[in-house]
C-alpha cells in the first residue's frame, strides 16, 4: 500500500489523481509521515523549478521578422493531398463523367432512331421507342398510308430527333464547360500564397 501510494506522489502533486485514487492518497497522507515528507520534498523541487529566473529572450516581433527571412517559399503544390481536397478533384472528374454519359446516351439514341427508321430493329422498335413516339408514328402512318409517305416521315422524324439531340447536347456541353472553367478560376484564386504581414502588437504568452 505504502509503495503503491509513494509512486503516485508526483501524480498527486500534479493534480493528475482523480476519484477513488485521490481519496485513497489523501487518506494515506493523513496517516503516513514518510510520504508527507517526500511530498514536501517533491513540492520544494517543483517550487524551485518554477522560481528559476528566465533570461530576456529576443522580442517576439524580432524573432518573427528574423524567421520570416528564412522561411522557404511554399505553394499549394507542396502540400500532400488532404482528405478534403479530394473533393476538388472529384468536381472536374464528375463533370467529365457526366459529359461522357450524356454524349453516350445521345449517340445511342441516334443509333436506335436510325435503326428504327431503316427497320433493322423490327418489332423491337416498339419496345425500345417511347410510348409517345410510337403513337405519333402510328398516327401519321395511318393518316398518310404505310407506303411512300413512311420513308419521308421517317426521315423527317430522324432530322427532328437529331436536331433536338444536338440542341440539348450543346446546352449540356455549354453548362459543363461553364462549370469546369468556374472551378478552375476558384481553384486558382485559392492557391496563391500571400505576403507575410508583420503586426506590431505584443506576443501573447
Amino acid at each position: 500500500m505504502h509503495d503503491d501510494m509513494r509512486t503516485l506522489l508526483n501524480a498527486y502533486l500534479d493534480n493528475e489523481l482523480h476519484g477513488t485514487r485521490l481519496l485513497e492518497m489523501k487518506m494515506h497522507l493523513a496517516s503516513c509521515r514518510e510520504c508527507r515528507e517526500e511530498l514536501k520534498g517533491l513540492r520544494r523541487v517543483s517550487d524551485l523549478l518554477q522560481a528559476a529566473p528566465v533570461p530576456a529572450f529576443m522580442p517576439a516581433e524580432r524573432f518573427v521578422s528574423n524567421l520570416s527571412l528564412k522561411l522557404e517559399r511554399r505553394t499549394l503544390r507542396d502540400r500532400p493531398p488532404k482528405p478534403g481536397s479530394l473533393a476538388w478533384w472529384l468536381v472536374p472528374a464528375g463533370l467529365l463523367v457526366s459529359w461522357f454519359f450524356v454524349r453516350t446516351v445521345f449517340t445511342l439514341t441516334g443509333m436506335v432512331t436510325a435503326a428504327e427508321a431503316t427497320g433493322l430493329l423490327g418489332n423491337t422498335a416498339n419496345w425500345l421507342g417511347s410510348g409517345q413516339q410510337a403513337i405519333w408514328f402510328k398516327a401519321v402512318t395511318d393518316l398518310f398510308g404505310a407506303g411512300a409517305a413512311q420513308s419521308t416521315l421517317s426521315t423527317l422524324n430522324e432530322v427532328s430527333v437529331f436536331g433536338m439531340n444536338l440542341l440539348s447536347g450543346l446546352l449540356w456541353q455549354a453548362g459543363i464547360i461553364f462549370l469546369y472553367w468556374g472551378w478552375l478560376v476558384v481553384w486558382w484564386l485559392r492557391r496563391g500564397p500571400k505576403p507575410m504581414k508583420i503586426s506590431t502588437t505584443p506576443a501573447r504568452s
Binding site: T7, L9, N10, A11, D14, E16, G41, L42, R44, V45, S46, L48, L49, Q50, A51, A52, P53, V54, P55, A56, F57, M58, A60, E61, F63, V64, N66, L67, S68, K70, L71, E72, R73, R74, T75, L76, D78, R79, P80, R190, R191, P193, K194, P195, M196, K197, I198, S199, T200, T201, A203, R204, S205
Partner: protein, 192 residues
C-alpha cells in the same frame, strides 16, 4: 490589419499557413514563441542557443505544417518539434562545453543583495542539476514544469506510454531533490 489577424481563430490561421500564407504562420509563431523558447531554454540552459533552437523548431514546423492535422493541438505539436530539435542540437554539441549563462550571472552578482545572490546561485545549481539528468527524464520534467502539459499530453508529445511519463517524472524529481536540496539548504545557511 494586425487586429484582423488576431481575431481569426487558430484553426483558420493554421489552414491559411498550410496553404503558404506566411502572415498567418507569423501570427502562430507570435502566439507560441514564448512557450516554445522557454521549454527549449530549460532543456539546453542557454538563452541564445534556445532562440536558435526555437527558430530551427519553427522552420521545421513550417516545412511540415502541411501534414499537420488542424484538429490536433498545435502547441503540443510545436513542443514535440522543439524538444526533438533541442535534443538533436544537444547531442551534436555534447563535446563542446556549454556556456551556462546562469553561472555567469552568479559571478557577475558582486556585492548585491544577499537574496539575489542566493536566488542566482540556486538557479545556477538548478541548471547544472537539470543538465545532469538524462535527456529522457529532463524532457518529461521540462514539459511538465515549464510546458504545463498534462501527463497524457506529455505522453502524446513524446510518443511514450503514460506509465513511462510517470516513472520518468518520479526519477527526475527525486534525482533533483537529492542534488538540490542539500546545496540549497547549505546556501541558505551560508547567507543566514
Amino acid at each position: 490589419m494586425a487586429s484582423d489577424l488576431q481575431a481569426e481563430t487558430e484553426r483558420s490561421l493554421i489552414e491559411k499557413a498550410q496553404n503558404g500564407d506566411r502572415g498567418a504562420f507569423g501570427e502562430l509563431v507570435r502566439q507560441h514563441y514564448t512557450g516554445v523558447v522557454n521549454v527549449v531554454y530549460r532543456l539546453c540552459g542557454e538563452a541564445r542557443l534556445a532562440e536558435d533552437m526555437a527558430q530551427e523548431a519553427f522552420l521545421r514546423a513550417w516545412v511540415n505544417l502541411p501534414s499537420f492535422h488542424p484538429e490536433s493541438s498545435l502547441r503540443n505539436w510545436l513542443y514535440r518539434i522543439a524538444v526533438n530539435a533541442a535534443l538533436d542540437e544537444l547531442r551534436r554539441k555534447t563535446e563542446e562545453p556549454m556556456m551556462d549563462e546562469l553561472m555567469q550571472m552568479v559571478s557577475d552578482t558582486t556585492p548585491g543583495p544577499e537574496a539575489m545572490v542566493i536566488a542566482s546561485e540556486q538557479a545556477a545549481f538548478l541548471q547544472e542539476a537539470m543538465k545532469a539528468l538524462p535527456e529522457a527524464a529532463r524532457s518529461v520534467l521540462v514539459l511538465r514544469e515549464y510546458g504545463e502539459l498534462s501527463y497524457q499530453e506529455i505522453a502524446t508529445v513524446l510518443d511514450i506510454p503514460i506509465g513511462t511519463v510517470m516513472s520518468r517524472l518520479n526519477y527526475a524529481r527525486n534525482r533533483l531533490r537529492e542534488l538540490l536540496i542539500t546545496q540549497v539548504q547549505q546556501l541558505e545557511v551560508d547567507y543566514a
